[in-house]
Protein backbone atom coordinates (compact mmCIF):
# COMPACT_ATOMS: atom_id res chain seq x y z
CA UNK A 1 0.00 0.00 0.00
CA UNK A 2 2.74 2.45 0.99
CA UNK A 3 4.81 1.29 -1.95
CA UNK A 4 1.85 1.99 -4.24
CA UNK A 5 1.33 5.56 -2.94
CA UNK A 6 5.04 6.36 -3.18
CA UNK A 7 5.33 4.92 -6.69
CA UNK A 8 2.25 6.79 -7.93
CA UNK A 9 3.32 10.14 -6.43
CA UNK A 10 6.91 9.78 -7.60
CA UNK A 11 6.08 8.39 -11.04
CA UNK A 12 3.57 11.04 -12.01
CA UNK A 13 5.69 13.86 -10.57
CA UNK A 14 8.63 12.71 -12.68
CA UNK A 15 6.41 12.43 -15.75
CA UNK A 16 4.94 15.89 -15.15
CA UNK A 17 8.41 17.29 -14.49
CA UNK A 18 9.72 15.82 -17.78
CA UNK A 19 6.79 17.33 -19.72
CA UNK A 20 7.38 20.67 -18.08
CA UNK A 21 11.09 20.49 -19.01
CA UNK A 22 10.18 19.80 -22.65
CA UNK A 23 7.89 22.83 -22.68
CA UNK A 24 10.60 24.92 -21.08
CA UNK A 25 13.24 24.02 -23.68
CA UNK A 26 10.79 24.10 -26.61
CA UNK A 27 9.54 27.25 -28.31
CA UNK A 28 6.30 27.01 -26.28
CA UNK A 29 8.15 28.09 -23.13
CA UNK A 30 6.96 28.38 -19.55
CA UNK A 31 3.58 30.06 -19.74
CA UNK A 32 0.41 29.98 -17.65
CA UNK A 33 -1.03 27.62 -20.26
CA UNK A 34 1.80 25.07 -20.26
CA UNK A 35 2.00 25.03 -16.45
CA UNK A 36 -1.74 24.42 -16.10
CA UNK A 37 -1.69 21.82 -18.85
CA UNK A 38 1.22 19.89 -17.29
CA UNK A 39 -0.32 19.81 -13.81
CA UNK A 40 -3.74 18.83 -15.19
CA UNK A 41 -2.25 16.06 -17.37
CA UNK A 42 -0.30 14.57 -14.44
CA UNK A 43 -3.35 14.74 -12.14
CA UNK A 44 -5.70 13.15 -14.67
CA UNK A 45 -3.09 10.52 -15.58
CA UNK A 46 -2.79 9.66 -11.89
CA UNK A 47 -6.57 9.54 -11.41
CA UNK A 48 -7.05 7.25 -14.43
CA UNK A 49 -4.32 4.86 -13.30
CA UNK A 50 -5.82 4.77 -9.82
CA UNK A 51 -9.20 3.79 -11.28
CA UNK A 52 -7.38 1.25 -13.45
CA UNK A 53 -5.83 -0.26 -10.27
CA UNK A 54 -9.34 -0.60 -8.77
CA UNK A 55 -10.37 -2.58 -11.86
CA UNK A 56 -7.26 -4.77 -11.62
CA UNK A 57 -8.01 -5.54 -7.99
CA UNK A 58 -11.74 -6.12 -8.40
CA UNK A 59 -11.32 -8.37 -11.43
CA UNK A 60 -8.28 -10.15 -9.87
CA UNK A 61 -6.06 -9.63 -12.90
CA UNK A 62 -2.98 -10.58 -10.84
CA UNK A 63 -4.31 -14.12 -10.64
CA UNK A 64 -4.56 -14.41 -14.43
CA UNK A 65 -1.99 -16.16 -16.60
CA UNK A 66 0.27 -13.99 -18.72
CA UNK A 67 -1.44 -14.77 -22.05
CA UNK A 68 -4.77 -13.57 -20.61
CA UNK A 69 -3.19 -10.58 -18.92
CA UNK A 70 -1.34 -9.04 -21.91
CA UNK A 71 -4.41 -8.23 -24.12
CA UNK A 72 -6.26 -6.84 -21.10
CA UNK A 73 -3.36 -4.57 -20.16
CA UNK A 74 -2.99 -3.31 -23.74
CA UNK A 75 -6.75 -2.70 -24.05
CA UNK A 76 -6.96 -0.87 -20.74
CA UNK A 77 -3.88 1.20 -21.64
CA UNK A 78 -5.46 2.28 -24.96
CA UNK A 79 -8.72 3.25 -23.23
CA UNK A 80 -6.90 5.37 -20.64
CA UNK A 81 -4.65 6.90 -23.28
CA UNK A 82 -7.64 7.92 -25.45
CA UNK A 83 -9.43 9.47 -22.46
CA UNK A 84 -6.30 11.31 -21.35
CA UNK A 85 -5.55 12.44 -24.91
CA UNK A 86 -9.13 13.67 -25.49
CA UNK A 87 -9.20 15.64 -22.27
CA UNK A 88 -5.76 17.14 -22.78
CA UNK A 89 -6.44 18.09 -26.41
CA UNK A 90 -9.64 19.83 -25.31
CA UNK A 91 -7.78 21.63 -22.55
CA UNK A 92 -5.06 22.71 -24.98
CA UNK A 93 -7.76 24.24 -27.25
CA UNK A 94 -9.17 26.18 -24.29
CA UNK A 95 -5.76 27.34 -23.12
CA UNK A 96 -4.50 28.39 -26.57
CA UNK A 97 -7.48 29.97 -28.35
CA UNK A 98 -5.44 32.63 -30.13
CA UNK A 99 -2.88 30.40 -31.81
CA UNK A 100 -3.49 28.95 -35.23
CA UNK A 101 -6.14 26.22 -35.05
CA UNK A 102 -5.11 24.74 -31.64
CA UNK A 103 -3.72 21.18 -31.66
CA UNK A 104 -3.43 19.42 -35.01
CA UNK A 105 -5.10 15.97 -35.38
CA UNK A 106 -1.74 14.32 -36.13
CA UNK A 107 -0.26 15.56 -32.86
CA UNK A 108 -3.30 14.22 -31.01
CA UNK A 109 -2.78 10.72 -32.49
CA UNK A 110 0.90 10.78 -31.55
CA UNK A 111 -0.06 11.84 -28.02
CA UNK A 112 -2.56 8.95 -27.76
CA UNK A 113 0.16 6.52 -28.87
CA UNK A 114 2.63 7.94 -26.32
CA UNK A 115 0.03 7.76 -23.56
CA UNK A 116 -0.61 4.11 -24.43
CA UNK A 117 3.12 3.38 -24.04
CA UNK A 118 2.98 5.27 -20.74
CA UNK A 119 0.16 3.10 -19.35
CA UNK A 120 1.73 -0.15 -20.59
CA UNK A 121 4.91 0.89 -18.71
CA UNK A 122 2.80 1.70 -15.63
CA UNK A 123 1.21 -1.78 -15.84
CA UNK A 124 4.59 -3.46 -16.25
CA UNK A 125 5.89 -1.81 -13.10
CA UNK A 126 2.66 -2.55 -11.21
CA UNK A 127 2.61 -6.26 -12.07
CA UNK A 128 6.39 -6.64 -11.60
CA UNK A 129 6.20 -5.22 -8.06
CA UNK A 130 3.19 -7.41 -7.35
CA UNK A 131 4.93 -10.53 -8.65
CA UNK A 132 8.08 -9.74 -6.67
CA UNK A 133 6.14 -9.30 -3.43
CA UNK A 134 4.24 -12.49 -4.01
CA UNK A 135 7.40 -14.54 -4.59
CA UNK A 136 8.87 -13.05 -1.42
CA UNK A 137 5.76 -14.06 0.52
CA UNK A 138 5.99 -17.57 -0.92
CA UNK A 139 9.59 -17.76 0.22
CA UNK A 140 8.61 -16.70 3.73
CA UNK A 141 5.86 -19.30 3.76
CA UNK A 142 8.30 -21.95 2.56
CA UNK A 143 10.78 -21.01 5.27
CA UNK A 144 8.03 -21.29 7.84
CA UNK A 145 6.98 -24.67 6.47
CA UNK A 146 10.53 -25.99 6.47
CA UNK A 147 11.10 -24.92 10.04
CA UNK A 148 12.29 -27.91 11.97
CA UNK A 149 9.74 -29.43 14.28
CA UNK A 150 10.29 -31.72 17.20
CA UNK A 151 9.56 -35.32 16.36
CA UNK A 152 6.33 -36.27 18.20
CA UNK A 153 7.70 -39.76 18.72
CA UNK A 154 10.61 -38.32 20.68
CA UNK A 155 8.31 -36.04 22.64
CA UNK A 156 5.93 -38.78 23.82
CA UNK A 157 8.73 -41.19 24.62
CA UNK A 158 10.45 -38.47 26.63
CA UNK A 159 7.25 -37.77 28.57
CA UNK A 160 6.86 -41.47 29.27
CA UNK A 161 10.43 -41.74 30.54
CA UNK A 162 9.97 -38.68 32.74
CA UNK A 163 6.90 -40.28 34.27
CA UNK A 164 8.96 -43.36 35.08
CA UNK A 165 11.64 -41.11 36.53
CA UNK A 166 9.24 -39.31 38.91
CA UNK A 167 9.07 -42.31 41.24
CA UNK A 168 12.71 -43.24 40.86
CA UNK A 169 14.58 -39.93 41.00
CA UNK A 170 12.30 -36.91 41.58
CA UNK A 171 15.14 -34.38 41.35
CA UNK A 172 16.20 -35.65 37.93
CA UNK A 173 12.57 -35.76 36.85
CA UNK A 174 12.19 -32.10 37.77
CA UNK A 175 15.28 -31.20 35.82
CA UNK A 176 14.00 -33.16 32.83
CA UNK A 177 10.69 -31.26 32.88
CA UNK A 178 12.59 -27.95 32.91
CA UNK A 179 14.71 -29.10 29.98
CA UNK A 180 11.62 -30.15 28.10
CA UNK A 181 10.03 -26.74 28.68
CA UNK A 182 13.14 -24.98 27.35
CA UNK A 183 13.22 -27.23 24.33
CA UNK A 184 9.55 -26.65 23.57
CA UNK A 185 10.06 -22.90 23.90
CA UNK A 186 12.85 -23.05 21.31
CA UNK A 187 10.86 -25.26 18.94
CA UNK A 188 7.42 -23.67 19.26
CA UNK A 189 8.41 -20.01 19.52
CA UNK A 190 6.63 -18.59 16.49
CA UNK A 191 8.49 -15.32 16.96
CA UNK A 192 11.79 -17.18 17.05
CA UNK A 193 14.34 -15.85 14.58
CA UNK A 194 15.21 -17.76 11.43
CA UNK A 195 18.85 -17.72 12.44
CA UNK A 196 20.46 -17.82 15.87
CA UNK A 197 24.06 -17.66 17.18
CA UNK A 198 25.59 -21.14 17.36
CA UNK A 199 25.89 -20.74 21.15
CA UNK A 200 22.07 -20.49 21.47
CA UNK A 201 21.56 -23.43 19.13
CA UNK A 202 23.98 -25.54 21.20
CA UNK A 203 22.00 -24.70 24.35
CA UNK A 204 18.92 -26.19 22.66
CA UNK A 205 20.96 -29.24 21.61
CA UNK A 206 22.15 -29.61 25.21
CA UNK A 207 18.54 -29.73 26.48
CA UNK A 208 17.61 -32.17 23.76
CA UNK A 209 20.55 -34.46 24.54
CA UNK A 210 19.79 -34.36 28.28
CA UNK A 211 16.29 -35.68 27.53
CA UNK A 212 17.57 -38.34 25.14
CA UNK A 213 19.98 -39.39 27.89
CA UNK A 214 17.03 -39.95 30.24
CA UNK A 215 15.46 -42.17 27.60
CA UNK A 216 18.52 -44.01 26.26
CA UNK A 217 20.59 -43.94 29.49
CA UNK A 218 24.01 -45.58 29.06
CA UNK A 219 23.37 -46.30 25.37
CA UNK A 220 24.08 -42.69 24.43
CA UNK A 221 27.67 -41.41 24.57
CA UNK A 222 28.09 -37.78 23.52
CA UNK A 223 31.17 -35.68 22.88
CA UNK A 224 31.12 -32.02 21.88
CA UNK A 225 34.09 -30.39 20.20
CA UNK A 226 33.25 -26.74 19.53
CA UNK A 227 35.86 -24.12 18.61
CA UNK A 228 35.21 -20.95 20.72
CA UNK A 229 35.36 -18.63 17.69
CA UNK A 230 32.32 -20.37 16.14
CA UNK A 231 29.94 -19.51 18.96
CA UNK A 232 28.85 -16.13 17.58
CA UNK A 233 28.39 -17.38 14.00
CA UNK A 234 24.74 -17.53 12.96
CA UNK A 235 23.09 -20.80 11.98
CA UNK A 236 19.48 -21.66 11.02
CA UNK A 237 17.54 -22.22 14.24
CA UNK A 238 17.05 -25.92 15.07
CA UNK A 239 19.58 -26.99 12.40
CA UNK A 240 22.08 -28.72 14.70
CA UNK A 241 19.18 -30.11 16.75
CA UNK A 242 17.75 -31.72 13.59
CA UNK A 243 21.13 -33.25 12.71
CA UNK A 244 21.61 -34.58 16.24
CA UNK A 245 18.06 -35.97 16.37
CA UNK A 246 18.62 -37.68 13.02
CA UNK A 247 21.91 -39.16 14.22
CA UNK A 248 20.24 -40.61 17.31
CA UNK A 249 17.10 -41.83 15.56
CA UNK A 250 18.91 -43.64 12.74
CA UNK A 251 22.09 -44.52 14.60
CA UNK A 252 22.39 -44.76 18.34
CA UNK A 253 18.74 -45.62 19.15
CA UNK A 254 18.74 -48.45 16.61
CA UNK A 255 21.67 -50.17 18.31
CA UNK A 256 21.07 -52.50 21.22
CA UNK A 257 24.30 -51.42 22.88
CA UNK A 258 23.95 -47.79 21.87
CA UNK A 259 26.65 -45.75 20.20
CA UNK A 260 28.67 -42.58 19.91
CA UNK A 261 27.53 -39.12 18.95
CA UNK A 262 30.02 -36.35 18.24
CA UNK A 263 29.32 -32.72 17.36
CA UNK A 264 32.23 -30.80 15.90
CA UNK A 265 32.28 -27.11 14.88
CA UNK A 266 35.14 -24.98 13.56
CA UNK A 267 35.84 -22.07 11.23
CA UNK A 268 37.61 -22.91 7.98
CA UNK A 269 38.47 -19.55 6.51
CA UNK A 270 35.18 -17.74 6.01
CA UNK A 271 33.12 -20.92 6.32
CA UNK A 272 31.54 -22.40 9.44
CA UNK A 273 31.90 -26.18 9.35
CA UNK A 274 29.61 -28.29 11.56
CA UNK A 275 29.96 -32.07 11.56
CA UNK A 276 27.61 -34.40 13.43
CA UNK A 277 29.00 -37.93 13.56
CA UNK A 278 27.27 -41.06 14.79
CA UNK A 279 27.71 -44.80 14.92
CA UNK A 280 25.36 -46.04 12.19
CA UNK A 281 22.48 -48.42 12.87
CA UNK A 282 22.93 -52.13 12.24
CA UNK A 283 22.88 -53.35 8.62
CA UNK A 284 20.74 -54.23 6.85
CA UNK A 285 18.58 -51.40 8.09
CA UNK A 286 15.34 -52.82 9.44
CA UNK A 287 12.26 -51.30 7.88
CA UNK A 288 11.04 -48.54 10.19
CA UNK A 289 7.49 -48.99 11.38
CA UNK A 290 6.70 -45.44 10.38
CA UNK A 291 6.55 -44.53 6.73
CA UNK A 292 8.19 -41.25 7.73
CA UNK A 293 11.58 -42.01 6.22
CA UNK A 294 14.83 -40.56 7.39
CA UNK A 295 15.40 -38.30 4.43
CA UNK A 296 12.64 -35.75 4.90
CA UNK A 297 14.02 -33.99 7.97
CA UNK A 298 17.45 -33.67 6.41
CA UNK A 299 16.11 -32.60 3.00
CA UNK A 300 13.99 -29.88 4.62
CA UNK A 301 16.93 -28.70 6.71
CA UNK A 302 19.10 -28.49 3.60
CA UNK A 303 16.48 -26.53 1.66
CA UNK A 304 15.95 -24.13 4.55
CA UNK A 305 19.71 -23.65 4.94
CA UNK A 306 20.01 -22.63 1.28
CA UNK A 307 17.01 -20.29 1.44
CA UNK A 308 18.60 -18.51 4.40
CA UNK A 309 22.27 -18.55 3.40
CA UNK A 310 22.30 -19.00 -0.38
CA UNK A 311 23.49 -21.85 -2.57
CA UNK A 312 27.01 -21.79 -1.17
CA UNK A 313 25.65 -23.21 2.08
CA UNK A 314 25.51 -27.02 1.93
CA UNK A 315 24.30 -29.95 3.98
CA UNK A 316 25.39 -33.45 3.06
CA UNK A 317 25.10 -36.87 4.63
CA UNK A 318 28.30 -38.87 4.27
CA UNK A 319 27.79 -42.62 4.62
CA UNK A 320 30.96 -43.70 2.84
CA UNK A 321 32.38 -45.26 6.03
CA UNK A 322 30.76 -48.36 7.45
CA UNK A 323 31.51 -47.47 11.05
CA UNK A 324 30.61 -43.78 10.91
CA UNK A 325 27.84 -41.61 9.47
CA UNK A 326 28.62 -37.89 9.20
CA UNK A 327 26.22 -35.05 8.48
CA UNK A 328 28.29 -32.11 7.20
CA UNK A 329 26.89 -28.56 7.23
CA UNK A 330 28.93 -25.78 5.59
CA UNK A 331 27.74 -22.21 6.13
CA UNK A 332 29.57 -19.22 4.60
CA UNK A 333 30.06 -16.33 7.02
CA UNK A 334 28.56 -12.99 5.92
Amino acid sequence: MIAYVVCQALGWSVWGGLNFTFFAVSDMGVTFGTVVWTIAASALGLALSHAYRAVIRRRRWTARPLHALVPRVIGASIVQAVVLDGAMTALARVLTPASAGGVPIGASVIFAFNFTILYVSWSTIYFAVHWFERSRRAERAELHFLKAQLNPHFLYNALNSVRGLIGEDPARAQEAVTRLAKLLRAALGSVAADTVPLADELAVVDDYLALEAVRLEHRLAVSLDIAPDTLTARVPSMLVQTLVENAIKHGVARRRDGGQLRVHAELRGRVLAIDVENTPGPEPAPEPVTARGGGVGLANASERLQLLFGVRATLRLDRSRRDLTVARARIPLP
Binding site: E168, E287, T290
Partner: protein, 232 residues
Amino acid sequence: MKALIVDDERLARVELRRLLAAHPAIEIVGEAADAGAARAQIEALDPALIFLDIEMPGETAFDLLASLDAAPAVVFTTAFDHHAVRAFEVSALDYLLKPIEPARLATAIERVLAAQLGKPRAPEPAAGRVFVRDGDRCWFVTLADVPVIESEGNYARLDVPGQPLLARSLGYLEARLAASFFRANRQQLVNLGHVARIEPGPGGGLILILTSGREVEMSRRQAQKFRLLTSL
Protein backbone atom coordinates in the same frame (compact mmCIF):
# COMPACT_ATOMS: atom_id res chain seq x y z
CA MET B 1 -2.02 -64.38 34.22
CA LYS B 2 1.70 -64.48 33.42
CA ALA B 3 2.88 -61.42 31.55
CA LEU B 4 6.13 -60.29 29.96
CA ILE B 5 7.19 -56.65 29.48
CA VAL B 6 9.22 -55.93 26.35
CA ASP B 7 10.62 -52.42 25.88
CA ASP B 8 14.10 -51.16 25.03
CA GLU B 9 13.85 -48.27 27.51
CA ARG B 10 14.43 -49.20 31.12
CA LEU B 11 12.35 -46.32 32.45
CA ALA B 12 9.43 -47.31 30.22
CA ARG B 13 9.57 -50.82 31.75
CA VAL B 14 9.77 -49.34 35.24
CA GLU B 15 6.74 -47.17 34.53
CA LEU B 16 4.65 -50.01 33.12
CA ARG B 17 5.58 -52.26 36.03
CA ARG B 18 4.43 -49.51 38.40
CA LEU B 19 1.12 -49.14 36.53
CA LEU B 20 0.56 -52.91 36.51
CA ALA B 21 0.97 -53.10 40.29
CA ALA B 22 -2.68 -51.99 40.42
CA HIS B 23 -3.72 -55.16 38.57
CA PRO B 24 -3.17 -58.23 40.74
CA ALA B 25 -4.54 -60.47 37.98
CA ILE B 26 -1.38 -59.75 36.00
CA GLU B 27 1.78 -61.41 37.25
CA ILE B 28 4.91 -59.98 35.66
CA VAL B 29 7.23 -62.91 35.11
CA GLY B 30 9.96 -61.12 33.20
CA GLU B 31 11.30 -58.20 31.22
CA ALA B 32 13.19 -57.96 27.95
CA ALA B 33 14.96 -55.06 26.25
CA ASP B 34 14.97 -56.40 22.69
CA ALA B 35 13.37 -58.98 20.42
CA GLY B 36 16.05 -61.61 20.91
CA ALA B 37 15.84 -61.51 24.69
CA ALA B 38 12.04 -61.48 24.45
CA ARG B 39 12.03 -64.63 22.30
CA ALA B 40 14.19 -66.43 24.86
CA GLN B 41 11.93 -65.25 27.70
CA ILE B 42 8.78 -66.37 25.88
CA GLU B 43 10.21 -69.85 25.37
CA ALA B 44 11.48 -70.12 28.95
CA LEU B 45 8.56 -68.53 30.81
CA ASP B 46 5.57 -69.21 28.51
CA PRO B 47 3.74 -65.95 29.31
CA ALA B 48 0.05 -65.71 28.38
CA LEU B 49 0.39 -61.98 27.65
CA ILE B 50 3.12 -59.67 26.33
CA PHE B 51 3.25 -55.91 26.65
CA LEU B 52 5.24 -55.13 23.56
CA ASP B 53 6.96 -51.90 22.49
CA ILE B 54 6.88 -51.56 18.71
CA GLU B 55 10.12 -49.71 17.95
CA MET B 56 13.12 -51.49 19.32
CA PRO B 57 16.74 -51.62 18.17
CA GLY B 58 17.30 -54.49 15.75
CA GLU B 59 14.13 -56.48 15.19
CA THR B 60 10.80 -54.72 15.64
CA ALA B 61 7.82 -56.09 17.55
CA PHE B 62 6.33 -57.33 14.27
CA ASP B 63 9.49 -59.28 13.40
CA LEU B 64 9.37 -60.89 16.82
CA LEU B 65 5.70 -61.91 16.53
CA ALA B 66 6.10 -63.24 13.00
CA SER B 67 8.90 -65.51 14.24
CA LEU B 68 6.76 -67.14 16.95
CA ASP B 69 4.96 -70.43 16.17
CA ALA B 70 2.21 -69.62 18.63
CA ALA B 71 1.72 -66.04 19.72
CA PRO B 72 0.54 -65.19 23.24
CA ALA B 73 -1.97 -62.37 23.71
CA VAL B 74 -0.31 -59.07 22.85
CA VAL B 75 -0.91 -55.50 23.97
CA PHE B 76 1.28 -53.11 21.99
CA THR B 77 2.77 -50.05 23.62
CA THR B 78 3.89 -47.19 21.42
CA ALA B 79 4.65 -43.50 21.43
CA PHE B 80 2.66 -41.50 18.89
CA ASP B 81 2.89 -43.30 15.60
CA HIS B 82 0.25 -42.53 13.04
CA HIS B 83 0.96 -45.44 10.71
CA ALA B 84 1.21 -48.13 13.30
CA VAL B 85 -1.99 -46.96 14.93
CA ARG B 86 -3.79 -47.07 11.59
CA ALA B 87 -2.59 -50.63 11.01
CA PHE B 88 -4.02 -51.65 14.37
CA GLU B 89 -7.36 -50.07 13.72
CA VAL B 90 -7.73 -52.24 10.65
CA SER B 91 -6.85 -55.44 12.43
CA ALA B 92 -8.30 -54.59 15.87
CA LEU B 93 -5.14 -55.38 17.81
CA ASP B 94 -5.00 -53.63 21.14
CA TYR B 95 -2.44 -50.90 21.69
CA LEU B 96 -1.59 -48.38 24.39
CA LEU B 97 -0.20 -44.95 23.65
CA LYS B 98 2.72 -43.78 25.78
CA PRO B 99 2.58 -42.22 28.30
CA ILE B 100 0.05 -44.90 29.22
CA GLU B 101 -3.23 -43.84 30.84
CA PRO B 102 -4.10 -46.05 33.84
CA ALA B 103 -7.78 -46.22 32.77
CA ARG B 104 -6.84 -47.25 29.24
CA LEU B 105 -4.50 -49.92 30.63
CA ALA B 106 -7.33 -51.28 32.79
CA THR B 107 -9.59 -51.55 29.71
CA ALA B 108 -6.89 -53.39 27.76
CA ILE B 109 -6.37 -55.86 30.61
CA GLU B 110 -10.12 -56.45 30.95
CA ARG B 111 -10.30 -57.26 27.26
CA VAL B 112 -7.41 -59.70 27.45
CA LEU B 113 -8.89 -61.43 30.50
CA ALA B 114 -12.33 -61.64 28.89
CA ALA B 115 -10.83 -63.19 25.75
CA GLN B 116 -8.98 -65.73 27.89
CA LEU B 117 -12.16 -66.72 29.74
CA GLY B 118 -14.12 -67.15 26.52
CA LYS B 119 -11.44 -69.24 24.92
CA PRO B 120 -9.45 -71.42 27.31
CA ARG B 121 -5.92 -71.93 26.10
CA ALA B 122 -5.66 -74.73 23.60
CA PRO B 123 -3.98 -77.84 24.95
CA GLU B 124 -1.53 -77.84 22.06
CA PRO B 125 0.10 -75.15 20.00
CA ALA B 126 -1.44 -76.63 16.87
CA ALA B 127 -4.69 -74.80 17.48
CA GLY B 128 -2.91 -71.60 18.41
CA ARG B 129 -2.73 -68.26 16.68
CA VAL B 130 -0.16 -66.98 14.23
CA PHE B 131 0.76 -63.38 13.54
CA VAL B 132 0.53 -62.40 9.88
CA ARG B 133 1.46 -59.24 7.98
CA ASP B 134 0.33 -57.93 4.65
CA GLY B 135 1.92 -54.60 3.78
CA ASP B 136 0.59 -52.06 6.24
CA ARG B 137 -1.82 -54.43 7.93
CA CYS B 138 -1.07 -57.03 10.55
CA TRP B 139 -3.32 -59.33 12.49
CA PHE B 140 -3.63 -62.66 14.24
CA VAL B 141 -5.13 -65.73 12.56
CA THR B 142 -6.49 -68.60 14.63
CA LEU B 143 -5.34 -71.72 12.83
CA ALA B 144 -8.54 -73.62 13.68
CA ASP B 145 -10.34 -71.12 11.41
CA VAL B 146 -8.10 -71.87 8.42
CA PRO B 147 -9.59 -74.55 6.10
CA VAL B 148 -6.64 -74.88 3.71
CA ILE B 149 -2.98 -73.90 3.75
CA GLU B 150 -1.33 -73.75 0.34
CA SER B 151 2.35 -73.91 -0.50
CA GLU B 152 3.83 -70.89 -2.22
CA GLY B 153 7.56 -71.41 -2.62
CA ASN B 154 9.10 -71.23 0.84
CA TYR B 155 5.95 -69.58 2.15
CA ALA B 156 2.50 -70.81 3.00
CA ARG B 157 -0.71 -69.00 2.10
CA LEU B 158 -3.56 -69.17 4.60
CA ASP B 159 -6.97 -69.50 2.95
CA VAL B 160 -8.72 -66.89 5.10
CA PRO B 161 -9.89 -63.35 4.22
CA GLY B 162 -6.85 -61.33 3.22
CA GLN B 163 -5.04 -64.50 2.02
CA PRO B 164 -1.96 -63.73 4.16
CA LEU B 165 1.40 -65.41 3.63
CA LEU B 166 3.20 -67.12 6.48
CA ALA B 167 6.99 -67.27 6.43
CA ARG B 168 7.03 -71.06 6.94
CA SER B 169 7.36 -73.93 4.50
CA LEU B 170 4.43 -76.30 4.05
CA GLY B 171 6.62 -79.19 5.25
CA TYR B 172 7.37 -77.36 8.50
CA LEU B 173 3.69 -76.63 9.07
CA GLU B 174 2.71 -80.22 8.23
CA ALA B 175 4.97 -81.54 11.00
CA ARG B 176 3.94 -78.81 13.37
CA LEU B 177 0.18 -79.10 12.80
CA ALA B 178 -0.09 -82.88 12.37
CA ALA B 179 -2.89 -83.11 14.94
CA SER B 180 -5.41 -81.06 13.00
CA PHE B 181 -4.12 -80.63 9.43
CA PHE B 182 -3.50 -83.33 6.84
CA ARG B 183 -1.31 -83.09 3.73
CA ALA B 184 -3.79 -83.66 0.89
CA ASN B 185 -1.24 -83.25 -1.91
CA ARG B 186 2.07 -81.54 -2.73
CA GLN B 187 0.50 -78.12 -2.55
CA GLN B 188 -2.12 -78.23 0.20
CA LEU B 189 -2.67 -78.90 3.88
CA VAL B 190 -6.33 -79.42 4.79
CA ASN B 191 -7.85 -78.69 8.19
CA LEU B 192 -9.70 -81.92 9.09
CA GLY B 193 -12.13 -79.91 11.19
CA HIS B 194 -13.37 -78.27 8.00
CA VAL B 195 -14.03 -81.46 6.01
CA ALA B 196 -17.78 -82.05 5.45
CA ARG B 197 -17.73 -85.09 3.14
CA ILE B 198 -15.26 -87.39 1.47
CA GLU B 199 -15.81 -88.89 -2.00
CA PRO B 200 -13.72 -91.27 -4.08
CA GLY B 201 -11.51 -89.42 -6.54
CA PRO B 202 -9.79 -90.36 -9.84
CA GLY B 203 -6.95 -92.91 -9.80
CA GLY B 204 -7.56 -94.20 -6.30
CA GLY B 205 -7.43 -90.75 -4.71
CA LEU B 206 -10.04 -88.99 -2.65
CA ILE B 207 -11.95 -85.73 -2.96
CA LEU B 208 -12.47 -83.79 0.27
CA ILE B 209 -15.51 -81.53 0.25
CA LEU B 210 -15.09 -78.77 2.80
CA THR B 211 -17.84 -77.06 4.76
CA SER B 212 -17.34 -74.04 2.51
CA GLY B 213 -18.17 -76.20 -0.52
CA ARG B 214 -14.61 -76.07 -1.77
CA GLU B 215 -13.22 -79.37 -3.13
CA VAL B 216 -9.67 -80.51 -2.49
CA GLU B 217 -8.16 -83.45 -4.33
CA MET B 218 -6.13 -85.94 -2.32
CA SER B 219 -3.44 -87.86 -4.18
CA ARG B 220 -3.49 -91.65 -4.18
CA ARG B 221 -0.38 -91.87 -2.02
CA GLN B 222 -1.77 -89.50 0.59
CA ALA B 223 -5.21 -91.17 0.38
CA GLN B 224 -3.64 -94.47 1.42
CA LYS B 225 -2.06 -92.80 4.45
CA PHE B 226 -5.33 -91.07 5.18
CA ARG B 227 -7.34 -94.30 5.10
CA LEU B 228 -4.81 -95.87 7.42
CA LEU B 229 -5.02 -92.94 9.79
CA THR B 230 -8.82 -92.75 9.87
CA SER B 231 -9.39 -96.50 10.14
CA LEU B 232 -7.59 -96.55 13.46
